[in-house]
C-alpha cells in the first residue's frame, strides 16, 4: 500500500480529532462493561442506549472533521485511498 504525505493540520485541529478518536475508543471500552453484574436491567438499557447514540454521533463528528479539513487544505485523494493522521507530527498521510 502506497503512502504519501499530503498535508498537515494545526495543533488545535489535531486535538479536535484526537479527542474524537479517544471518545470512540472510550465508548467501545465502556460497551464492554454493559454485562456487568452491578447494573440492573433499567440501568443497563439506559447505558446501552447512550453508548449507541453517542457512538453514532461521534462517528458523524469524525467524518465531518475529515471532510471539513480536507476541503480547507485541499488534500490529494485517490480512489479507495484513505487519509491518516500522525498524532505526533500532525501530518496527514494518504494511503492508497
Amino acid at each position: 500500500m502506497e503512502k504519501e504525505l499530503v498535508g498537515e493540520v494545526l495543533e488545535e485541529e489535531k486535538y479536535e480529532i484526537l479527542r474524537l478518536f479517544e471518545r470512540k475508543i472510550a465508548l467501545e471500552e465502556v460497551a464492554l462493561t454493559l454485562e456487568n453484574e452491578g447494573l440492573n436491567e433499567k440501568e443497563r438499557d439506559k447505558l446501552r442506549k447512550k453508548v449507541e447514540e453517542e457512538y453514532t454521533k461521534n462517528k458523524e463528528n469524525l467524518s465531518t472533521w475529515w471532510r471539513e479539513k480536507s476541503e480547507k487544505y485541499s488534500w490529494k485523494k485517490v480512489k479507495n485511498g484513505v487519509w491518516e493522521i500522525d498524532f505526533n507530527t500532525n501530518k496527514i498521510i494518504l494511503k492508497g
Binding site: L18, E22, I25, A26, G38
Partner: protein, 712 residues
C-alpha cells in the same frame, strides 16, 4: 555547529491530557505487597488494609460530581499499592464504574483519561491482569519497576523471604513491551547499589527498555565518598554511550541536559512536584495531597490527611500547598545554588523529616549526589560534542539561560581589527596550531563559543569549519565569513555574510552615509568609530549630519519592510536598559602569545595587560567594576545602546568604569538622532508609540550628575 537531535536524558513522551489540564487521582488500593524491597519508602506495609469498592465508589462520585473542586477536563486515574495488581478485581470494578459514570454524567474527561499503574510486574502475565489490559487497552499506561541488572535488582527488590525477584519480573518484560511499545522504567539507586549503576542502566537498555527514569533516594543514607562512586559510574556510562553511539535511541535521566544551571525566577516560584494539586485516596477513604503523605509511607509523622470520602476535601488543610514553592521552603544556599536546576525533592519526605509539622522545610541529603550528577552530565555532553561535532542540547540550554560566552582567537598579529582598536604591531606572528587546539579545548571545558579573528590564509576554516569567523572583506580565503569587516572602505559587497562591521576613522566620518547605503542589503550593520579621542567639534557636527542622512535610509527600509538594523541608530529603539559590551564577562580573547585578554584591544595596546592564560585560568582584578551598578556615570545614563567600551574608558580616563567626555557625547548624539528617528517612524505609523525616548538637555550625563549634586 549544527544541533543534533538526541533523546538522551529525556523521559519518554508522557500523555498530556490531549491538550487539556490534567488532574492526577491516586487510589491506594492495598497496603500489602508481594515484595519487601529494602529501600521502599512505604515503611509500614501490611496485609490488613485494602480498599473496598464502596470507598472507591464514593471517591469517584465526589471527583466526578464536584466540578467546582475538580475543574480539570482530563484525569489520570492512578492505581498504586503496595502492589496494585494484588487487587485487580477491585481495580477492574472501579475502572468500569469510572467509565460508566464519566459517560452518564457527560464528564469532559470521558474524552481524556488514563488508567495508570506502578507495579513490580510479578503479576503482569496473570490472566486477570491480562484480561483487564485487553479490556482497557486504549487507556492504560503501565510502569514496571526493573531496577537494573540482576545483582542490583536483587540487592533491593526481594521477596519477604529474601529471595531476589529479578528473574520473575524480567520474564514479563517482553510481553509488557509487546503491549506498550517504547516502555520506560524507574530505577532507584541507594548507597549499596551505586557500584552497579553503570551495568544496571546498560542491562535495562539491553532488555529493550530504552527509557530509564533513574534517580537516587532522598533519604539520609549517603556516606562519605558515595558522590565519587556515583560520578565515576556515570562517567563510565557516558563513555559507553559515546563509544557505542547510543545517544539517539536510548535515554537515562541522569544525563538530562537541563540539570545543573542556576535557578531562574520562574523555577524559584515553582514546586518540584504536584503535591496538593494531586489527590490520593487511602484504603479507608481518607484524602491526601499525594501518596507520599499517607500514614504508611511516613517514618516519623502521621499522615497529612486533608479530608475523606464522606466529607470531601477540607480546603483549609489544602491551602498550605498552593503557595509552596522552591524559594519559601529552601535555604539561601539552595536558592542561590549555581547548579540548582534538576535538584529534586519530595514534599512528602520533607514533611516526614521536618523539625515541625511543616511542608516548608526542604531536606537536602542528596545535595552532593546532585552535584556529582551535574559534573558527570557535563562530562557526557562534552564527550557528545567531541564525538559528533554538533552543538549539544546542553550547550543550547546554557546559552539560553546564561547567554553565549565567546573566546575570541586573535589568530595572528596582522589581523584586521574588528572593534575600537588599532593593530600597530609590526610583526606577523601567527597563533600556533598547538595553541589553537589548546584554546579550543579550553573553550569546550569552560563553555565558550570559539570565534576566529582572521583565517591564516584559509587554513583555519579548512581545519575548524564549524566555528565563527570574523574576516576582512578583502580576505578571499573564506567562503563562510560570518561577520565581514570593511576597513574604511566598501570596495566589495559580494560577501555572503549578513552582518557587516564598518571601521570608520576620523577622516572617513564624512563617508558614513555612503558606506551604509552601499551595504544596505545587509541584515545588520555595525559602525565602529576609531580614534574618537582625536575628534573635534567639526567632526561631531559632521557625524550628526551623517546620522540624519542615515536616518532617512532607515525610514525607507521600514517602509519597504526590510528593517535596516544599525547599532548606532536602531538599537536604542528597542532597548530599555543598558546593553554594553560584555568584554571580560561574556567574552575574552586569546592572543598568539598564549595569554588571555579582556578583549583584543588590550592585547594590541599592551600585551602585558593580560588576565591570565590557558593553564592558570582567568584572573580579572576588580571585576566588580565591569558591572553597570559600579559605573557611576553610565548607571545614570539612558544612551542604552552605548557599548561602554572598557578599553577606551581605561585608555582615556584611566578607570575601566569611567567613560571619557567624547565617548558620552558621541553616544548622546546617536541617542538624540535616534529619538528624532523614532518620532518620524511613529508619525508614519511604522513604529508603536510606547517607550518614547525622552528629550534631554545634555550630551554628557556627568553634567546631570553634577547639577543634581549642586541642587542637593
Amino acid at each position: 555547529m549544527g544541533v543534533n537531535s538526541t533523546n538522551m536524558g529525556n523521559l519518554s513522551p508522557q500523555w498530556n491530557g490531549n491538550g487539556k489540564k490534567t488532574r492526577s487521582v491516586t487510589f491506594c488500593v492495598t497496603e500489602d505487597c508481594n515484595l519487601a524491597c529494602k529501600y521502599c519508602y512505604m515503611e509500614h506495609k501490611n496485609k490488613r488494609k485494602r480498599m473496598t469498592f464502596e470507598v472507591a465508589k464514593k471517591a469517584v462520585d465526589y471527583i466526578l460530581n464536584d466540578r467546582e473542586e475538580f475543574r480539570d477536563n482530563a484525569i489520570v486515574w492512578d492505581f498504586i499499592g503496595g502492589e496494585p495488581f494484588l487487587e485487580i478485581d477491585l481495580i477492574d470494578k472501579v475502572s468500569d464504574y469510572i467509565k460508566q459514570q464519566m459517560l452518564i454524567l457527560d464528564h469532559p474527561s470521558f474524552n481524556n483519561y488514563r488508567f495508570s499503574f506502578s507495579t513490580n510486574g510479578l503479576l503482569y502475565n496473570t490472566p486477570k491482569v491480562q484480561k483487564y489490559i485487553r479490556k482497557n487497552k486504549g487507556h492504560i499506561s503501565v510502569n514496571i519497576s526493573v531496577d537494573g541488572n540482576r545483582v542490583k535488582h536483587d540487592l533491593q527488590r526481594v521477596y519477604p523471604n529474601g529471595k531476589g525477584s529479578y528473574d520473575d519480573v524480567v520474564k514479563n518484560v517482553p510481553l509488557w513491551m509487546e503491549q506498550f511499545g517504547d516502555v520506560q522504567t524507574k530505577a532507584t539507586f541507594a548507597h549499596d547499589d551505586l557500584p552497579h549503576l553503570k551495568d544496571s542502566i546498560i542491562s535495562l537498555w539491553n532488555l529493550g527498555i530504552k527509557w530509564v527514569s533513574a534517580n537516587v533516594v532522598f533519604e539520609d543514607i549517603w556516606e562519605e565518598g558515595d558522590d565519587e562512586i556515583f560520578e565515576n559510574q556515570l562517567m563510565e556510562l557516558a563513555d559507553y554511550v559515546i563509544d557505542n553511539e547510543l545517544w539517539n535511541d536510548y535515554s537515562v535521566r541522569f544525563f538530562n541536559p537541563r540539570i545543573g544551571f542556576p535557578l531562574d525566577k520562574e523555577l524559584k516560584k515553582d514546586n518540584f512536584c504536584g503535591a496538593g494539586h494531586m489527590l490520593a485516596v487511602d484504603c479507608e477513604g481518607r484524602y491526601y495531597p499525594c501518596i507520599r503523605f499517607l500514614d504508611f509511607t511516613l517514618m516519623n509523622k502521621v499522615g497529612l490527611c486533608i479530608g475523606d470520602v464522606d466529607h470531601g476535601i477540607n480546603e483549609d488543610l489544602q491551602r498550605r500547598f498552593w503557595g509552596l514553592n522552591l524559594e519559601n521552603q529552601s535555604s539561601q544556599e539552595c536558592i542561590n545554588c549555581e547548579v540548582g536546576t534538576g535538584c529534586a525533592w519530595c514534599s512528602g519526605f520533607n514533611y516526614d523529616v521536618a523539625e515541625t509539622d511543616t511542608v516548608y522545610q526542604r531536606a537536602t541529603y542528596l545535595c552532593k549526589m546532585h552535584k556529582a550528577n551535574v559534573r558527570a552530565c557535563e562530562y557526557f555532553w562534552q564527550k557528545y560534542e567531541e564525538a559528533t561535532g554538533k552543538k549539544s542540547p546542553r550547550r543550547e540550554i546554557r546559552e539560553e539561560k546564561l547567554g553565549v560566552h565567546y573566546l575570541q582567537f586573535i589568530t595572528g598579529n596582522s589581523i584586521t581589527p574588528h572593534c575600537n582598536y588599532r593593530n600597530n604591531f609590526k610583526t606577523k606572528e601567527s597563533m600556533s596550531k598547538k595553541l589553537i587546539e589548546k584554546g579550543l579545548k579550553f573553550a569546550r571545558d569552560n563553555h565558550y563559543t570559539p570565534v576566529f579573528l582572521g583565517n591564516q590564509d584559509g587554513n583555519l576554516e579548512e581545519n575548524y569549519p564549524n566555528n565563527i569567523f570574523i574576516l576582512d572583506s578583502k580576505d578571499k580565503t573564506s567562503s563562510k565569513n560570518n561577520i565581514t569587516i570593511y576597513n574604511n572602505e566598501v570596495a566589495d559587497t559580494s560577501n555572503s555574510s549578513d552582518i557587516a562591521t564598518i571601521l570608520i576613522s576620523k577622516k572617513n566620518i564624512v563617508k558614513i552615509y555612503k558606506f551604509i547605503e552601499e551595504l544596505n542589503r545587509k541584515k545588520r550593520i555595525n559602525i565602529v568609530l576609531q580614534d574618537v579621542e582625536k575628534w573635534e567639534l567639526e567632526d561631531i557636527n559632521e557625524y550628526e549630519d551623517q546620522l540624519r542622512q542615515v536616518s532617512q535610509l532607515v525610514i525607507e527600509s521600514y517602509e519597504n519592510g526590510t528593517y535596516l538594523s544599525i547599532n548606532i541608530l536602531t538599537d536604542r529603539l528597542n532597548l530599555n536598559e543598558h546593553y554594553g559590551c560584555e568584554a571580560g564577562v561574556n567574552s575574552i580573547a586569546l592572543a598568539p602569545n598564549g595569554k588571555l585578554y579582556i578583549c583584543p584591544a588590550f592585547y594590541f595596546d599592551e600585551p602585558e595587560n593580560n588576565i591570565g592564560d590557558l593553564e592558570t585560568g582567568i584572573k580579572v582584578k576588580n571585576d566588580h567594576l565591569f558591572k553597570l551598578s559600579n559605573a557611576p556615570i553610565c548607571s545614570e545614563c539612558d544612551a542604552y545602546h552605548c557599548m561602554r567600551c572598557k578599553f577606551l574608558n581605561e585608555k582615556l580616563t584611566k578607570e575601566i568604569n569611567t567613560p571619557s567626555k567624547i565617548q558620552c557625547v558621541i553616544s548622546h548624539i546617536e541617542r538624540n538622532i535616534t529619538r528624532e528617528l523614532q518620532q518620524r517612524l511613529i508619525e508614519r505609523r511604522l513604529l508603536s508609540s510606547v517607550d518614547k525616548i525622552p528629550k534631554i538637555d545634555y550630551l554628557d550625563p556627568l553634567e546631570k550628575i553634577i547639577r543634581n549634586k549642586k541642587e542637593a
